[in-house]
């Protein structure tokens, strides 16, 4: 692992016991660093809670974090349309934190309600990098990309049915965005978006003077979901 980055356990396809063992192993080897586990189902979360009472769990995201979080440097803003995309959005949030950037969450901003999005503009316009999560037609990144010049990472989700084809419609929509400078992650890959955005934010913020780094607001919007 590159210095400063957290240890990570990808929980999909692993038994709860394997997850706990891996977390214990990593946490013991690097007690001074955060360890992040993603894609945990209810059983795995229970087992992690029992093994590490001090772990920080998010049942919506399916994530667990152990060990001291890095001091946040720079600010990532995560936007999502609604509750159905919350699992992916929160996976991104916790990944950003574990990779050492601050994070702000704005939810309930869908393309079919463009006025709410406009009202939130000043909340995302000062971020160092945006993560825009959307399912169904995946149009949100195009609209946001037209409102701001902040680097924007789009994450399609598998939310939808019928011709959504498990997130393919959203993925293709984002890849074909008419807003220049939109880049895309795999379907439901909040983790990948979080790693990338945190790297961008930390580099950007480093440049703005390290004094301010500790003060990065790691907050939420009034209509935002809990981090």
């Amino acid at each position: 692992t590159r210095t400063g980055d957290p240890e990570v356990v990808y929980g999909a396809g692993k038994t709860p016991d394997q997850v706990v063992d891996l977390l214990r192993h990593l946490h013991t080897a690097h007690p001074d660093r955060a360890a992040l586990a993603t894609r945990l189902d209810a059983t795995a979360l229970d087992r992690v809670r029992a093994a590490f009472p001090e772990a920080r769990l998010d049942e919506v995201a399916g994530t667990a974090t152990l060990g001291p979080p890095p001091t946040p440097v720079g600010l990532v803003c995560v936007l999502a349309a609604g509750t159905s995309d919350a699992r992916v959005a929160r996976e991104a949030v916790h990944t950003v934190e574990a990779y050492g950037a601050g994070v702000r969450t704005i939810t309930d901003v869908g393309v079919a309600g463009v006025h709410r999005l406009l009202a939130a503009k000043e909340e995302f316009d000062d971020a160092d990098c945006l993560i825009v999560v959307a399912g169904m037609e995946g149009a949100l990144p195009s609209v946001v990309g037209g409102l701001t010049g902040v680097p924007l990472v789009a994450v399609p989700t598998s939310v939808g049915y019928g011709a959504s084809f498990g997130g393919l419609a959203a993925l293709l929509g984002m890849l074909n965005s008419c807003a220049p400078g939109v880049v895309v992650c795999n379907i439901d890959n909040g983790f990948g978006a979080g790693v990338f955005a945190a790297r961008v934010a930390r580099r950007a913020h480093a440049g703005r003077g390290s004094a301010g780094a500790g003060e990065t607001p790691n907050g939420e919007t009034p209509n935002g979901a809990a981090r």
Copy 2:
């Protein structure tokens, strides 16, 4: 043909001679009715111009109309993001006219420039039916659908490259629109959208009192392309 509807020649896969022969045949049989030919290339348009000097041609749309247009009843509004979608948008415009409804065109309203779209809202909010044409990610119908309750027909275009897959990305985006009540036509099918929207508009307008029908503004927006 149902009473009042125009005669139609679908030009794709036909030789210029076949198009002229069919138009002559239909126009002779029904001199009191409009005859519309679509999907004409430059050669076919030239041949039609030579054979019928009075024909109304649109080189961008690839269409030709012969014979008296019906009195427009009701109003359809056609929205498109830019010049690249103009061929499809204008095919829709001329179809609406031939099927007997008024039409207004609004262009240069893309999702990545949402303020221009908001500024145009009152121009499309009083229509009886909307046709929204878009390529690439096909997100425009979702945003328009969130701004108005007017029935909305979306037309994906084959404009794009790479993972646009000849309009598939826009088609899937529109089918998965999170704005309720968006319905969709085949890729590049301005004709089908025009037939449908004209039928809706004529029925709606019939109800508002026939006196106003002849006055339906068949106009353009300040930033609109020529019909």
Copy 3:
């Protein structure tokens, strides 16, 4: 929500508790308006029944309606081939009702039994908008579209197997309909078709004189399924 439209809860991916909470919240805030919940499984329907004894449930459709229905204006006709498409057809029916139009259902009219369809023609020819639901090859809209000039919304269903690919065959068939003026919704999207058709019907009927609106027959055909 736009004035007059119902409040809607999309039940897919929500827990029964979330559905009940949302319905209660919406019903309390807008007691004078209908609230519609769709995509409810057996457990969710039971929980809604227990919480709101006055709710109108449809177990085939997986829908629940609370609060006073709007007075129906205009008439939508829903056609479907058989019992296998009933879930989607009834979702459309209840959506039309909640969005304020009258509705008539005609079932048992498949393309492989074209005489029954011809016999039903006068039952759908006076409607303001048609919703045609079909799975497998999705051919019904083409045949109906050839028999009538009423605006027609096609809904493909995921009924089928093998090369039906979860409704893709029906979707492609409908998008390529040779009957002009057929528009299409997402696979299984009875809700979207209902919203669109109700809007068309209310506009059309408004024009025919508001006196008649309350009299719109909200009935069934002799061979029709219950609404």
Copy 4:
């Protein structure tokens, strides 16, 4: 080659010279048997005409036949919606003839004009096998299959655009036909359908008494294209 079957040259991907050479070789080796060449473009047809003035060419089908045709046994009926599917329909017609069955052609019978199809029923109901050619949504076989119990081979064509995907929509529609007993060939494969149908017809007719075989009407319908 099985006894009695014609010699066949598949012209796609061959130079005109190769086609002429192959035809000459086959015709010399089997002067008593028909030799059929398919998928010929204009140049190849010209070269064949020059080399074999007695050859029977069909410029629409892109086929050429040399040598004595077999006596037709049994009757195949080829149905197609319109001129755009004519190339494939005629390839089927000439293949049936070369493989020794009689053939009748019925055109201008699309699903969007079901009354014309009903009027033609008695023309196809006494055939031994049907070939139904259709592009776009490929719905014609379902409607025909609901009207008759004659074995029915469906041929999708690549006619269409957008989400027709080169004939895929028609192919999937036919494979998912709700009419029982519809079987399907590759896209544009009039040849394969002709081989199969001729075999079925000859076997069926053999059973009806060989006396009648020579009398099989090899005719056309009033609204039919030339064979």
Copy 5:
């Protein structure tokens, strides 16, 4: 239903109670005719057995037949490579019987063991129609089609994994068969193949003299599965 054809219940998506009710209804209305139910799972088969002790069940095929079978006319031969395709092959067998043709089954003849197939040639060469069932690469129809001129219906099955994509590989293979005259059904559609083949066989056999009809061997090959 066309005279002489059986009554059919398609069990997929129906409850066991619905299947039993439909069978009872059809059997009571047409006691002199066979009634066939397909796609029955273990529970539905049990319920049918309890309700109709005289029903003929096939647990591999998932079918049940009630009432007097028609006298077989003509002969269909069903070929399949192995036990994994048995469900589809037997659905075809029972459909052929219910539609009034004789049937012979040849199994254990795969393309990777071409000598066994050659040894079985005389067992299928005298049939009136062949049904060839195969999964994975779906190559069997091409090899059989090269060995015989008997009309051949191919049925792809969903047997396979990975890039078989639920039977798509076999379907495409069969549609592209280089053996002329191969026609294809939907994936796993033994029923459709059976209906088609029985129709062909009955017509063929009618011509060979009705005296022999009752004698049609409805047998099995030495290495064949039970009908």
Copy 6:
């Protein structure tokens, strides 16, 4: 256009005259700013050269730039495997320059020659953002992403044949990269990658002290293609 960003003309689907007119219009309106035209074929490039002798053309990239380039801030590194991906790589290079960042190009570094890639590590490890261009299997971003923590934008190209499906294989490979933090653009979209990377680089570099900005090496590697 956002302040400081260049004016851009997307040449695909535009006539050479339209390109020249648009460039002249933009250059006249904003003489102090760069104007970039992309996707120009040989004819369009010739017409641009004739109209604007001072334009900077790249025949491989199909781009033209007019007007004063912005002072480069920060450094983007573009990596590509070979000459076949050069068109896309150079479109990215010129876009980065027009959007105001420095750029370094490293070519001839494919996954099948991993030692050359390792040797180039120090040339890309100090960049602010990487653009990795690859066709065929699209594996290069995974290997590069494993060697460095610099933010990495992957661009699949349509280079390949057969199962490359026009760049789909490379696109899917990049979306599924096992290296964390790889984000992806549309197939052949060097422009989009350039916009994104320049934004990231400028923000990063701003933080490192503005004095150094003008000195950003805009160079090439020893084995690199010309910018």
Copy 7:
């Protein structure tokens, strides 16, 4: 079965009883030869263990082997990135052994950690054939193929999510490998890769002098999984 090759039972789609019966039948008929069963779930493994206490089971691979293994001739090396691909890799290992070649396993060598792969080069460079197993983007064969001239069989796995589409991304990546001489098996087909590689290895080794055959190291790497 060809002389010397093992008897094989493909367990997918078979009941545990069928698996045990087939194994007993094969083992009794050929007591001197190995019998291999693949694709066994936990229940089938238990049943096999109970019936044949001497069987060699691998719970990760889902395989069971009975009877004397052949003397290994030649050496196959199986490479895989991690634990998620272990099921497929071990299926390949046991197949190689049953088909009579020696096998060495190298795991934990992914493309995002290219230095570990380089360190392992001498462990795979002396093999007679390589099997490279990878999911997600499937890039490992390209990198390995660039490091060695040993014949290389790539096996894509269904490990991944989203746009991995059940292994399609890895399959396409491998088919498009820029390393010359990479050949590919079906998704998850460790068995097929094992059969092929063992055949290659045995032929290669035969040529090196039969004396050494018995000495082929059938070992593991320090960081390798158990055979």
Copy 8:
């Protein structure tokens, strides 16, 4: 390049001048080694012929070879059904030769004529590796793989139409082959198959005693195409 392997120029996407320059460069640098250019169109072949009169060209394959060919070691056998697959088969043949193995070609052996294939068995059964080239349904490798235990590399070609989807049908068929031990290359990739097979053959033959290597018959079958 690995010692002994030829220098290779991939001609697709290169101008004739680039091809000639690369060949000259490679040939000058390695005068003792073969240089192979593939995917050359007619113009490129002419230019190569003019520049290097001593070059060995194959107009069907689109290849050119310069410099001394390596002494053939071992024997590869290339099988193909017919003339339509000849381009790919011959690309494989010349690649095998350039990579140092002997090669024998067997053509006119399709699955629909299985007796000719059986008759050729002894011609391919003694080879060290087989390359089986087939388009359309791609079934030939399954049948060959059932007849022999020689390692078999399958190459799908893009020959076909309609649902062949540019070779996808053949590719999927080969990947799903029921014959164990079939491995697959990209569509039309005769080059890749040739590299792999030559490597296998040289290793196998090395073991059989180097004396015989020079004698490897590099011949053709009686019914074979020229190499």
